[in-house]
């Protein structure tokens, strides 16, 4: 029988990374993701891995850069203010086409904000928090089990596209304990990486860089990057569709708020209207096509977030005015309640 473990989202992410073959972790403590770093401080040495509590978030992400360049499966984690500090190097890693995992258990912002739960880092995660024309793949779990599953898959996706992947949770998912079942540990943990810096004896030397000073070279490289992003958009979109087919009103929510929306659907008792929900699991690439399809028949879409309204912009871009797109959100640790969402639906006349 498969063994169930009662773990926090933070701990589940950490164990899933070990099982996925990650052996290099670098981080710096911050609430509400400390259980992750704490877990790996014990676990990494047990599996012969490297765990370093770095002197800062900047140092940690640059250590990730180094390990990734050497071809290793590697990760860091933090929460919102710490993730802001890592942005420069995330841009460098995207520019150097280095695979890694970054976990962000979001907390309240802006600035130091607070330690309560939030989804206000959506823009930063999906629009590129650093400089330059780059994308990172962003996956948003809604349960502890899904946190483990997405972390496990994230390493494969990162290696496949040579691109950083972010798992974007929030304080609630990080702190919440639920039963979780892990995949079997991989036999072959590291993908073949002929580009990695492994010592060039007997072969042509590899170069890992994001610097293209000769005029024209950068444009050629950027075009290649954009082609890769197009492939990711074509192949890596993930979402959960709950009764959107024929629905009059469709709620769009990810992560923690999607669980609340499922409760809303459960509680919504009106004979006249059908309520559905779309839950983007990959926030970039965004399920644009699916939302476009929904907007062709739905009478209204309501985006629910723990922010002042961020993902709703991508929903509107997908809908292109085909149906009205409304928004309900709470910020600064406020969590939308089913009652509040039902009131919003009622106010709209459904």
């Amino acid at each position: 029988m498969e063994t169930k473990h009662l773990l926090t989202g933070n701990e589940a992410a950490a164990e899933a990374a070990i099982i996925a073959g990650c052996r290099y972790y670098y981080g710096y403590p911050i609430t509400p993701q400390n259980e992750l770093i704490n877990y790996l401080a014990t676990r990494m040495p047990q599996v012969g891995g490297t765990f370093i509590q770095a002197e800062s978030e900047l140092a940690a992400i640059n250590m990730v850069y180094g390990s990734a360049a050497a071809g290793a499966r590697t990760m860091t984690s933090s929460s919102s203010p710490g993730i802001s500090l890592k942005q420069e190097c995330i841009s460098y890693m995207a520019g150097s086409e280095l695979p890694c995992l970054i976990v962000n258990m979001q907390r309240g912002g802006p600035g130091l904000g607070d330690i309560s739960t939030s989804q206000a880092d959506y823009f930063q995660a999906v629009k590129g928090g650093g400089h330059g024309d780059y994308r990172i793949i962003v996956l948003a779990p809604s349960t502890v089990q899904e946190t483990a599953d997405l972390v496990y898959d994230a390493f494969d996706i990162a290696d496949k596209y040579r691109n950083p992947v972010m798992v974007l949770g929030d304080a609630q998912i990080g702190q919440l304990m639920e039963p979780v079942v892990f995949h079997k540990e991989r036999k072959n943990n590291v993908a073949d990486k002929p580009w990695a810096l492994t010592g060039s004896k007997g072969r042509k030397k590899n170069i890992v860089k994001s610097f293209y000073p000769v005029k024209g070279e950068l444009e050629v490289f950027n075009k290649k990057l954009q082609e890769k992003y197009k492939r990711i958009e074509d192949n890596e979109v993930l979402f959960e569709d709950l009764n959107t087919n024929g629905a009059d009103v469709v709620l769009v929510a990810y992560g923690t708020t999607s669980r609340i929306c499922k409760d809303v659907i459960n509680k919504y008792e009106s004979g006249n209207h059908q309520l559905g929900m779309l839950r983007p699991i990959s926030l970039w690439p965004f399920p644009t096509k699916k939302i476009r399809e929904i907007s062709e028949s739905a009478k209204a879409i309501i985006t629910i977030e723990m922010s002042a309204g961020q993902m709703v912009e991508d929903v509107r871009l997908a809908v292109e005015g085909r149906c009205p797109v409304h928004f309900y959100g709470r910020t600064g640790g406020g969590i939308p309640t089913p009652k509040e969402i039902l009131k919003k639906i009622d106010e709209l006349g459904f």
């Binding site: 009662l6 509400p32 609630q172 919440l176 304990m177 089913p338």
Partner: protein, 192 residues
């Protein structure tokens, strides 16, 4: 079946252990469970509260706004969570430390448990959490006692292993107290 229980006290009263053991035990019994802790303020004397949801189906939000059960260990906890009381809420409170207001609704079920006194009588003041656990499980009959004791035993390792017997006794005293005072028929469940 769904049971939404809030455990609230101050840090050091053992509400986290209570919540974790409860969650672990029901998970082993094949139910869905969520355990959502307060965090960042884990200091002795600080606020400590935990939302535990047990269900035979998928659990939506792990945050409780309408509680089936409140387990209240000190006065500030009651003040904080009294707005979660609805029809038929079971309120278990540690009457050694908590004084309830007189104007409580009459459609709730109140269980007055002198948990700190009972724990003190058996010689370990900090076992008041297990007194409450015994009383709670006796009334709600959620898990076989043996399953809970198994989880308790495996969670008390090293030096703490010696504390198993006193915790077990505290739990039994809690069961006994509600049986004597509230006309509860308790099926302790089959040994597993």
């Amino acid at each position: 079946m769904i049971e939404k229980v809030i455990l609230a006290g101050y840090g050091g009263q053992g509400m986290m252990l209570f919540g974790k053991l409860l969650a672990q035990s029901v998970m082993m019994n094949g139910k869905y469970v969520t355990f959502y802790p307060s965090y960042g303020t884990e200091v002795r004397g600080g606020k400590a509260f935990y939302h535990v949801i047990i269900s035979t189906d998928y659990i939506f939000s792990p945050v409780i706004d309408e509680a089936d059960t409140l387990i209240i260990m000190n006065n500030p906890s009651f003040d904080k969570f009294q707005n979660c009381i609805v029809n038929n809420t079971h309120l278990f409170y540690n009457s050694s430390l908590v004084h309830l207001p007189n104007d409580l609704p009459d459609d709730i079920n109140i269980f007055k448990i002198p948990a700190t006194e009972i724990a003190n009588d058996i010689g370990n003041l900090v076992a008041s959490n297990m007194v409450m656990m015994g009383a709670y499980n006796c009334v709600k009959n959620l898990i076989p006692r043996s399953r809970f004791l198994y989880c308790l035993r495996t969670s008390l390792t090293g030096k703490k292993a010696a504390l198993f017997e006193i915790n077990k006794l505290a739990m039994e005293r809690g069961e006994q107290y509600v049986q004597e005072n509230y006309n509860i028929n308790y099926d302790i469940g089959q040994d597993e």
